[in-house]
Amino acid sequence: MDYSNFLYMREELPLIAVMVILLLYDLFGSERSLRHFQLVACLLFGAHTVWCLFPHESCEAFGGMYVYRPMLTVIKSILNVGTLLVFMQAHTWLEGDRTRIRRGEFYFLTLSTLLGMYFMMSAGHFLLFFIGLETASIPMAALAAFDKYKRRSAEAGAKYILTAVFASALSLYGISMIYGTTGTLYFDDLAARIDGSPLQIMAFVFFVVGMAFKISLVPFHLWTADVYEGAPTSVTAYLSVISKGSAAFVLMTILLKVFPAIAVEWQWMLYALIVLSITVANLFAIRQKNLKRFLAFSSISQAGYLMLGVISADAQGMTALVYYVLVYMVSNLAAFGVISAVEQRTGKVMMEDYNGLYRTNPKLSVVMMLALFSLAGIPPFAGFFSKFFIFAAAAGQGYYGLVLIALLNTIISLYYYLLVVKAMFINSTDEPIAPFRSDNYTRISLMVCTAGIVLLGVLSVVYERISLFGFGM
């Protein structure tokens, strides 16, 4: 075996290095030096993020097992930035009495899942893909249960691991059937050998539901609300953005690369899943009182919109998908950042707790409002443009009915997003959340998110840059 192949892993190797350094630092660092742990972690990971910003030549390693395309740099960079933002928002939480001694674990586990996602995205073979999938899933359960002394967090961890195992098992079963019918697991070879026999269709569905679980599409979404509600808020943010975004991207690449022969089938399947996800999630979202649960359903319906990019199955769809992930990331992280800041300070996560927030914490309220406007797709915020592009991609392939359903659903979603805005700005209460100042990490991350919400749509150059890579897919 040629060990120089490892050198192609330009993004994975530095990430492993960051992980190992942080692990050793956490284990052997003196009590005094550990006071700067978070700063060091953010700086190291920030350096890694910058390193990963620059695309290089397309290449393959290990006989096609590992594949690199410039588009991966884009999506990996988006995930990196998102992870960095999550790290910054986790600051106060990690400084808590019970979490401080275990913060090294938080970073290590989170970066492990990120590494898993890298492998999933760079896989050219189902085996590496599956290893990536598991690497991304199992530590996630540990993260969900990070506040294990809290009953809800422990429950979230348990529910996540049980569902994840179930989904992985189905997925693996599907992959084994694919191998059984075709005799190979290389993506490049598979495309020609998929012919749409019933067994292959079954294998395909089994494989896809594993991904649908990660993206949390209806009806494979039932774990989402409980886990999102119970897990620590920073983990929920990570789960809702990074995990979902990477899985959507992987699903799209595999569908395009491996299963073009049964495109009609999977497009119908996605059609059904999209309609179900958007509609059902909206119906649940309008009656939620807990903001984390509320954002869980919101994220399910956003996942439905995300799939509109997949169903259009062309370069425009890919571009729209990646752009959507980027915009969704800044919007959702802004919302979670506010929720996390409030929760850390007051322990409150219910919608009625936010009544009158504008009076006491105007800045946080405005950030939250912008985030929700962006999620609802109100111009001129970035969310409008991302929805526009993804609808345009789907309509470009003739899915007018689907786009119409999605549009009707955005009206419903506007209602429930505005409920939160109404609570903050209009509802009054005798006991509003007292004014407070959040830590600098959170403030910076919220500023970055807000800048993203306001600017990403207006700066047309962002979409154009992504589209440049989209054609190199």
């Binding site: 348990a158 529910k159 049980l162 569902t163 179930f166 989904a167 189905l170 019933p198 269709i201 079954m202 395909f204 569905v205 089994f206 539901v209 679980f213 009806p219 494979f220 039932l222 774990w223 609300a225 409980d226 089938e265 119908w268 399947m269 059904a272 059902v280 909206n282 119906l283 649940f284 309008i286 009656r287 009707l408 009206i411 419903i412 209602y415 047309s460 154009e464």
Partner: protein, 634 residues
């Protein structure tokens, strides 16, 4: 010449600065910041003009310079929206005009607006307007023009409604915005039509005179007119709205509710000539592609000019007289463009139009600023509250007289030269047009001197306070503008601006000039005999003899009423009530239905989320199997 970007950025930065922190500054500081930044922009404009015109000619013309360009939105390789700075003879001239008048208004406002509430806001809006207007004239493409076109509309709206506690001002600002916006609808459709067929927004391609650019539109007609005619006529509709051409002029007289320096800047010198400027900018397009629209423009200009001149004769509010006079003079400029040709001496109209734009900006700003000084002194706009002010306000009197002589076309003041060129071009087009415009020039002289005598001579009105001369900050701009008005006519304008860019020597046609001066002198003599003493009863007797005509002219021939009838009765009452019913019942009904359905469905499925992980797995598996079976059977 990248520094020209600063000419735009300075006012923009000032607007942002004053808009954001202005209220924390003292009035004096805010005014000084605004004036200094505009002064700097003016200096840069002069430098740019000097540099542009002193550069050697290439093939007999000053080559246009794109000083800065930024691609903003790209649709196709040809079709993209840029933001840029185009320097060519007319845009450079406009830079000079705008910054000069704006600087004068900035200075003047120190005295005029002193102690007004919102002084800082006023200066912020002035900066915003200057930025927008400068951006409009240097546009490299028609879409940029459109963007800044709307921006000047907004700034004009803000400034007309500056006294927002006065209901008339609020109504006037709304009227101005809505009427011009309505016209801009046509403008936008015109832009879209044009760019659809030409595949570009760029002025360079649109005005290249190359017919192949519009090959796609050949042979296409709509309602009997070619598509190109529609496109250019619709663009002219936007110009007519902004430049207050009949019948879209109704907003301009009302816009006089704004502060008087604003009227001088926006509603006399700069914004209202944007329409003329745009027609001039697109002149090769009109000339080569749709000459019939050019004739239409000339007719609209002449009708407007005549109409406004007649109405101006009977108005009693001095700012309204000046407003109608502005409309009439812009009509002159439109006529000049409409009758113009392209090459050599045929292009006289184009040059004359731009020349008149230049001189008119100066003397009309002077007239408005003078009127402002008078209003400042007597606290009223009505002529009847004035009279006999020449001794009390000597500086205002002399400068106002200079401006009146200029607009009446008396040599050697600037208006004589530019108006003479327009009349010569009109006579060259057709004697009919020439005579019409000469008569209008005569009416102009009459109503201007009616105004002059009523203010400065006649019988002094009772005053609560003794009127006194305006402070230095107000008289200095008057003197400067008067000085410009005295000498601007001697500028060899044809050396700088002409339709093709080549030198167009100006010859004064003594037959035309003699005729126009004669008519003007007769009109002035008539006005002198009517109004100088203020005791001549002939005007009143005339009024009594033709009461209906006088009343119709005073009510501006009921155009406003006609608009109100159409909008209130026909559009609001007829069409909108039907639409409102549709909105209330069908659209809202659909929304309410959706909400009801959502609520019911939400109730129905809530059992799905039970919290039991066994059930989750069951649903998961069921979903998988249903999908499998469905896809296999498909």
């Amino acid at each position: 010449m990248e520094y020209t970007l600063l000419i735009l950025l300075l006012p923009l930065a000032t607007f942002l600065f004053l808009g954001l922190v202005g209220m924390k500054l003292s009035e004096r500081t805010a005014g000084i910041v605004g004036t200094l930044s505009l002064g700097l922009a003016a200096v840069l404009s002069y430098v740019a003009a000097w540099q542009f015109f002193s550069a050697p000619r290439v093939e007999g013309i000053h080559p246009p310079v794109v000083a800065w360009n930024f691609e903003w939105l790209r649709f196709t390789d040809q079709l993209h929206i840029d933001l840029g700075i185009l320097l060519d003879p007319i845009s450079v001239m406009m830079l000079v005009v705008i910054t000069t008048v704006s600087l004068m208004v900035h200075l003047y406002s120190f005295g005029y607006m002193k102690g007004e509430r919102g002084f800082q806001r006023y200066y912020a809006f002035l900066s915003l307007f200057s930025f927008s207007m400068l951006g409009l004239v240097v546009a490299t493409n028609i879409f940029q023009t459109y963007i800044f076109w709307e921006l000047v509309g907004v700034s004009s709206y803000l400034l007309i409604g500056f006294y927002y506690t006065k209901p008339e001002a609020v109504a006037a600002s709304k009227k101005a915005f809505i009427v011009t916006r309505f016209a801009d609808l046509g403008f936008l459709i015109g832009i879209l039509l044009l760019s659809y067929f030409a595949g570009t927004f760029s002025f360079e391609t649109l005005t290249s005179g190359n017919a192949s650019v519009f090959a796609g539109a050949a042979g296409r007609t709509f309602l009997g007119c070619s598509v190109m005619s529609w496109a250019t006529a619709l663009i002219f509709m936007g110009c007519a709205g902004k430049s207050a051409m009949f019948p879209l002029h109704i907003w301009l007289p009302d816009a006089m509710e704004g502060p008087t320096p604003v009227s001088a800047l926006i509603h006399a010198a700069t914004m209202v000539v944007a329409g003329v400027y745009l027609v001039a900018r697109l002149f090769p397009l009109y000339y080569f592609e749709t000459p019939e629209v050019l004739v239409f423009i000339a007719v609209v200009g002449a009708v407007t000019s005549l109409y406004a001149a007649v109405v101006a004769c009977v108005q009693t509010d001095i700012k309204r007289v000046l407003a109608f006079s502005t409309i009439s003079q812009i009509g002159f400029m439109m006529v000049a463009l409409g009758v113009s040709g392209m090459e050599g001496h045929d292009g006289l109209g184009y040059m004359a139009s731009m020349f008149h734009l230049f001189t008119h900006a100066m003397f009309k700003a002077l007239l408005f600023l003078g009127a402002g000084a008078i209003i400042h002194a007597v606290h009223s706009n009505e002529m009847s509250r004035m009279g006999g002010l020449r001794k009390k306000m000597p500086v205002t009197h002399i400068t106002f007289l200079i401006a009146c002589l200029a607009i009446s076309g008396i040599p050697p003041f600037s208006g004589f030269f530019s108006k003479d060129e327009i009349l010569a071009a009109a006579f060259a087009f057709s004697p009919w047009m020439g005579w019409t415009m000469s008569v209008i020039a005569g009416i102009t002289a009459f109503y201007m001197f009616r105004l002059y005598y009523n203010i400065f001579w006649a019988v002094p009105a009772e005053q609560e306070h003794e009127p006194h001369e305006a402070p230095g900050s107000m008289t200095v701009p008057l003197v400067i503008l008067a000085a410009i008005t005295c000498v601007a006519g001697f500028i060899p304008f044809g050396h700088f601006v002409s339709a093709t860019g080549a030198v167009l020597p100006i010859h004064i046609d003594w037959r035309v000039a003699g005729l126009s001066v004669l008519i003007a002198c007769l009109a002035i003599a008539l006005a002198t005999c009517f109004y100088r003493k203020g005791t001549n009863s002939l005007p009143d007797r005339l009024e009594a003899t033709f009461p209906r005509l006088h009343r119709a002219a005073y009510r501006r021939f009921y155009i406003d009423e006609a608009y109100l009838f159409v909008t209130r009765r026909i559009i609001f009452g007829g069409i909108c009530s039907g639409l409102a019913w549709f909105d209330r019942h069908v659209i809202d009904g659909a929304m309410n239905g959706l909400a009801w359905l959502t609520g019911r469905a939400s109730m129905a499925i809530r059992g799905l989320q039970s919290g039991q992980v066994q059930q989750y797995a069951y649903v998961f598996l069921l979903g998988t199997l249903v999908l499998t079976v469905w896809l296999i059977l498909m």
